[in-house]
Amino acid sequence: MHNINNNNQIPQNDTLVPGTSVSSGTNASVGAVMVVGGGIGGIQASLDLVEMGYRVYLVDSGPSIGGVMGQLDKTFPTNDCSMCILSPKLVEVGSSENIELFTLSDVVGVEGEEGDFTVELRVRPRFVDPEKCTGCGICTEQCRVKVKDPYDADLKRTPLIRVPFPQAVPGVAFIDPTRCLYLLKGKCGECKEVCLADAVDFEQKERTDTLRVGSIVMAPGYRPFDARIKAEYGYGVYDNVVTSLEFERILAANGPTGGHVLRRSDGGPVRKLAFIQCVGSRDTSVGNSYCSSVCCMYATKQSLIAREHQRDIEPSIFFIDMRSYGKGFEEYYRKASREQGVRYVRCLASYAKELRPSGNILIGYTDEDGNAVEEEFDLVVLSVGIEPDAAGLAGVLGVALGEHGFVATDEFLTVKTSRPGVYACGVVEGPKDIPDTVVQASASADMASAGLGAARGELIVHVEHPPEREVVGEEPRIGAVICRCGTNIGGVVDVPAVVEYARTLPNVVFADERLYACSQDTQEWIRDIVREHGLNRLMVASCTPRTHQPLFRDTMRSAGLNKYLFEMANIREHCSWVHMNLPDEATGKSKHLVKMAVGKAALLEPLQEGVSPVTPRALVIGGGGAGMTAALRLGDAGFTTYLVEKELELGGNMRHIFRTVEGGDVGAYLEELVGKVSSHGNIELFLDSTVDVVDGYVGKFHTTLSTPGGPVEVDHGVVVVATGGVEYEPKEGEYFFGRDERVITQAELERRIHQDPGSLAGVRDVVMIQCVGSRNDENPYCSKICCTVAVKNALALKRLNPDAGVHICYRDVRTYGFAEDRYLEARERGVGFIRFDEDEPPEVKHSFGDLLLKVADRNVRGEEVSLGCDLVVLSTGVAANPDAAELGPKLKVPLSADGFFLEAHVKLRPVDFATDGVFVAGLAHYPKTIGESLTQACAAAARAESVLCKENVVTEGVVAWVDEEVCSGCRQCVRLCSYEAIDFDEERGVAVVNSALCKGCGACTAACTSGANTLLGFKQDQIYAQIEAACNPL
C-alpha cells in the first residue's frame, strides 16, 4: 500500500530500487533487530529474522503478545480457528532463545542510523516476577477487584491480577495497577500471600532499557474506529448495537458468552442480525476517506459463523460495495449469499433506533428502489473501520506519516518508510488483512536484515549442551516427577499417593514430587537426579506438553540425555482442573495418566534430528517484477541466484504498466530493476529458458533447465516461483472485441495513454466495462486490481482531455485501501459510475457504424442507459499463467481451482508452499498490485534466505520411517503424504521417507497395514503400551 502522493518523503535521490545501494556489511552494524508490536505481523517478522540469523527484541505495549488476531474467533475465507493457528506461533516466540520479549514496554527514544540504532525503552512494572511466576492462576482467584477485560473487548470483567488470556506469551500474570488496592492504598496484598512461587513483587518500578539494534520493524497494529462518533447508530447508547470486534468475542467459544450469540441487553437469543458496513470508513464526514479493506469479508465471516452456531439466525449485511477482492474471497461471498442464507442489502444505513421495551433496533435505510425502509433487528453489529495508531511511535522513530495518518511507505516496496533502517509492516502502514500483513512481515524482515549482512549470526545464541549419553541397550531407568503446581494439582490430587504409585511401576527407579516442576531450581534438580540415579528416561506429570515440553526437553539435553527420551502426563489441564470436586477420582486418573506415560516412556528411543546440507543457491522462476525483485534480494544477500525467464526479455507484465495508481513511474523503476539484475554479480540469467526437470528437496534441489544453448543443470537449495499471470483474453466477439477496433482492453488503453496519446485526441466518450472474465461462473474469482486500474486510467483520460466523457460500468467498485481516494477523485472529476447486475451485463451495439452501449443502471432503479461511445474499454481480469499447470507437478506444489499456485496456508503462510523450500510471489499466487507483488517477492526472499543462510536443514526427530525389510511397496503412504515427503524407490520396490520433508503427522503410518512405516516418537508399540495402560486396572 502506498499513501504518498509526492514521493519526496521517501529517500529516492539516487536510486529507486533498494538493495545494492545500501552500504551494507560495515562491521559496525549490529546483528539484532527491534520489532515493535507483538501482533501477528510482529511475530512473523521476529520468527523470520531469527531464522535468518538475527537476534530480535520484540516489544509490545501490552502484557502479552498476540495482538488482535488472538482475539478473533475465526479467520476468513477458510473459517480457520484463529487461536489454533496463532498459538503455535506464540509458543515458538516464547521458547526461542533468540527472541527477547519486552512486554508492557514502549519505545521512547531512538538515536543512530541504519545499521546501528540505540533505542530507549520504557518498561512498565508488571508487579509479578516473570522468572518466578508459573502462570498457575491462584492469585487470580484471590483478587477481589474486577475490571473490564480488554481481551474480551470489555464485555466481561476480570480480576486485576491475571494471565491476559490462556494462551498468552509470556504465560505469566501481571497486575493492572489502575485499581490495585495494595498499590494505591497499601491494603489487601492477598495475591502476594497466596503465591507459592513468591512471584508477586509490588516493589517493581518502571525502568528504562537501552538496546542497540541494526534496524527496526514497526508493527504496532491499529485502533478500531470509535463507533460513538457515528452517533446516528447509537453505539454506546443502545445495548444491542455492538462493534464487530465485540461481536467477534461473542462468537468466540472462549469468549464472554461461550460462543452463544446473545443480545447484550437481556442475554436473549438473536434471530435477526444486522451488519452495518463502512462505519468509520469511506466516510469523509469522520475524516476517513479510505476503505478499511477487511470489513466486507469479516462481516460475511461473522454472519456465517453466527449461523453455524445457531441455524435460525438471519444475517443481513447493509453495504455499499461488496469488496471481496482477495484470494478465495469472491467464492466465499458467492457461497454466503447464494447458499448460506446471508442477505446482502445494498444501501447506506441512515440510522439505528432502539425500540422499547424489546430493546430491538430499528434500522432505517433507502432500498435499491429508492424507498425509505425501516427494519427491526435483535442485534446490530457495526463493521468498524481501521484507524491508524501510529503517530506516537512514528514520532519517536522519526518516520513520516501519510495523509491518513498511517505510516508512509514506498509504493513499490511497501514496507520501506521514510527513514532508512526503519520498516513498517501490517496495518500501521494501511488497512489490510492477515495474509497481507504476514507478507509484509516477512518482507520487512528481509529489508531489515539487508544492511546487516556482516553481522548475521553474531548475536544469535546457541546453547551448548553436554554430549548425549548413549542409552541404547540399557534397561529403561525412568525417573518420575510429579508436580504439585502449587495447589493447582496438589490441591485436588493426592500427589504423594501418585508418587507412591509411580514407584511401583515397572522401570521406574526414582519418583518424587516438586512444588513447581517448571521452576528453574527444579531443572537443576532434574540434572542431579538424572546423574545420581543413572536415569535414562524422564516422565514429568504436570501440565500440558504443548507449552512445557520444550522446557523439559531442554533440561534433558542439559542433563546429557536425548531430548526425545522424555514423556509428559498432563494431570493439570486434563485432570485436577477439570475434576476439582472429585479428589479421589482425580487421584485415580492421575495414576492412570502416569502409568500410561511411564508405559510409553519405557519404549522411547533416542531420536536424531536429521541434518542435510544446504546448497546456498537459489532458483527463481520468472523474470517479471516479482522474480527480479526476489532474485535481487537474494543476490544482494550474497546467494548465487539462477533467474529463469521464458521470454527473451526481462520484465514480464510490468512492461505493460506505465504508472501506479498514485502516479509512480513504473517504467523507470523497471528499467533500474532490469539494469541491476542484469549486471548483478550473484545473479545468473537464463533468458528464453524454462524449467525442465526438478529433483531433490529443500536444501538440495537439482534442476535441469532448457536453455537456447541446450540443457543446463543447476544445484540450488530453494525455489521461488514467480511465473506471473496473464491477461484474460476476451472471447472472440465478446463486446465486439477483436471485431471492432474501438473495443480495446484496459492494458491497451494504458499503453495509448502513455505511448500514443495522440491516438486518443479525438476520443470524446469512453465507456469501461468491469469484470470482463472475472466474477462469473467460468472464473469465479475477482481479479482484484481492475477497479483500481480503471479508475487510474479514467483519471488519466480526464487529465488528457477534461471534457472527455468517461463512464465505468461496474458491479462493485473495489478500490480497497487508499485507492478509494482515487475513486472519490474520479467521481469528483465527473467520471460516471454505472452499476450493472451480473445477469444483466451491458450490451455493446452497432448503430449506423457507431458504438452504442446499453445498460440497466442499478444505481437508478435499473433505468436503461444508452451511451454512444468512441471507445469501449474492457477491464479484463488477470488469469493464471497456463504454464503453472505444468510447473506445479514438477515442483510438487498444488494449484487452486482457478489455476493460481496454492500456498501452504492462506492465512499464515502466504509465500510458502507445503513443500519445504519452495516459495511463491507475485501474480503466480493471485492478482495483485505492483507494490503487493514486489513486497511479496521480498517476503519470499526472506523465507528463502532463512533456508539458505544455514549450513544444514535440521529436521525434526519425530518423522516417519519405513523399515525397508518390511515394506511391501503398496505405495499408499506415498499418496497419503501432504508434503510429498515419501518417494518410491522403484528399483528396490520400497517407500523411502525423506526426513527433510516429513512433518511428522503420521497420516501415512496409520495406513501401513504391514507396520513398515512408523512415526518415530509415536511408534505403534508405544501407542499400544499407552492403550494397554489406559485400559488395564491400575
Binding site: 525389510e965 518390511v966 515394506c967 511391501s968 511397496g969 503398496c970 505405495r971 499408499q972 499418496r975 497419503l976 501432504s978 518410491f984 520396490g989 497420516a1003 495406513a1007 497395514t1009 504391514s1010 507396520g1011 513398515a1012 505403534q1020 508399540d1021 499400544y1024 503400551a1025
Partner: protein, 262 residues
C-alpha cells in the same frame, strides 16, 4: 476349449508362459505352461476348483520382472489383479487375461456381484447379484445377539491363518495378525474379536469378494459375510468397489478432497 485355443495361439509369441490348470489325480492344479507342455492344459474348469491365481501372478512377476504371462481369470481373479495393480503388486502391462465366466450354478452359490471378467473368452456370462442376505439378517438382530453370534464364531478359530494366506489381497511381508502388541502369540483361540476385526478393517477398500477365505477356513467362520459388510460400508460412504472401480484408487489410500469428507 476357447481358452486353451487362445493359449496355444499366443504362447511363445505374445507371452512366455500361461498360468492355467493342469489335470492331476482327478482334479486340477495351477500350473505355468510353456510352449512345450501347453497341450496338457485343462480345457474345462470345474466350478468347485478355484485358486488364488492373482497371488501366483504376483509372485511370478516379482521373481521375474518383465515376464510376459497369460492367466486364466474368473471375475474375482481379475478384480484382485486390478486392486493389486493399484497397490503396485502386479504389472498388468505384461499380463494377458484369459477370461472365464463362472457358470450359473457357481454364480448362484457364490453370490458375488460380477461372476465374470471384463472380457470373457470361455463360458457363458451370467449376471450375478451381490448376496447380502446374511448381512441383512444379522443387521436385523439386536446388537447383543449379533455380538454373541460373532464371538461364538470367532471363538472357534484355530488360528490356522488360512484366511490370510489364501487372500489375494494379503501380501504384506509382516502381518498385523503377527504383531504381539495386537494379538497375543500362542493364544488359542486368538484374542477376541481383535484378530478377526483386524482383517475386517484391512479389507476395507481391498476385498474383492472372491470368497476364498471362507472356503479356506476349516471351521467355516462366515468371514465373507463380515467382509461383504465391509465392502458395503466402503461403497456406501465412498462409492468405491474394489476391483470394479478401475479408474479410482481406494479412498483409504488417497487423501482426496474436502468434498469427500464433508
Amino acid at each position: 476349449m476357447a481358452i486353451k485355443d487362445r493359449a496355444r495361439d499366443i504362447i511363445g509369441k505374445e507371452v512366455d508362459g500361461v498360468l492355467a490348470f493342469r489335470p492331476e489325480g482327478g482334479s486340477h492344479v495351477p500350473h505355468l505352461f510353456n510352449a512345450d507342455d501347453i497341450d496338457q492344459m485343462a480345457g474345462e474348469y470345474p466350478a468347485g476348483e478355484r485358486y488364488p491365481v492373482s497371488s501366483i501372478v504376483r509372485r511370478l512377476q516379482a521373481a521375474r520382472p518383465g515376464v510376459r504371462l497369460a492367466v486364466v481369470v474368473r471375475g474375482c481373479d481379475e478384480r484382485a489383479l486390478i486392486e493389486l495393480e493399484k497397490q503396485g503388486q502386479v504389472d498388468m502391462e505384461h499380463l494377458v487375461l484369459l477370461g472365464l465366466a463362472c457358470d450359473g450354478e457357481l454364480a448362484g452359490t457364490c453370490g458375488c456381484a460380477q461372476p465374470y471378467p471384463s472380457e470373457v473368452v470361455q463360458g457363458e456370462k451370467v449376471e450375478g447379484g451381490l448376496d447380502l442376505g446374511m448381512v441383512e439378517k444379522l443387521e436385523g438382530l439386536p446388537p447383543g445377539e449379533r455380538l454373541d453370534y460373532w464371538l461364538s464364531r470367532f471363538a472357534a478359530c484355530v488360528k490356522c491363518f488360512g484366511c490370510r494366506n489364501v487372500c489375494p489381497l494379503c501380501y504384506c511381508k509382516e502381518c498385523a495378525l503377527d504383531e504381539p502388541g495386537l494379538v497375543d502369540h500362542g493364544e488359542q483361540p486368538p484374542l477376541l474379536p481383535v484378530f478377526h476385526l483386524i482383517r475386517a478393517v484391512d479389507m476395507a477398500g481391498r476385498c474383492v469378494d472372491c470368497g476364498l477365505c471362507e472356503e479356506a477356513c476349516p471351521i467355516g467362520i462366515p468371514l465373507r459375510t463380515l467382509y461383504r459388510k465391509v465392502g458395503e460400508v466402503v461403497e456406501s460412504h465412498f462409492e468405491y468397489r474394489p476391483g470394479r472401480s478401475p479408474d479410482k484408487k481406494s479412498p483409504l489410500s488417497v487423501l482426496g478432497t474436502e468434498e469427500d469428507v464433508t
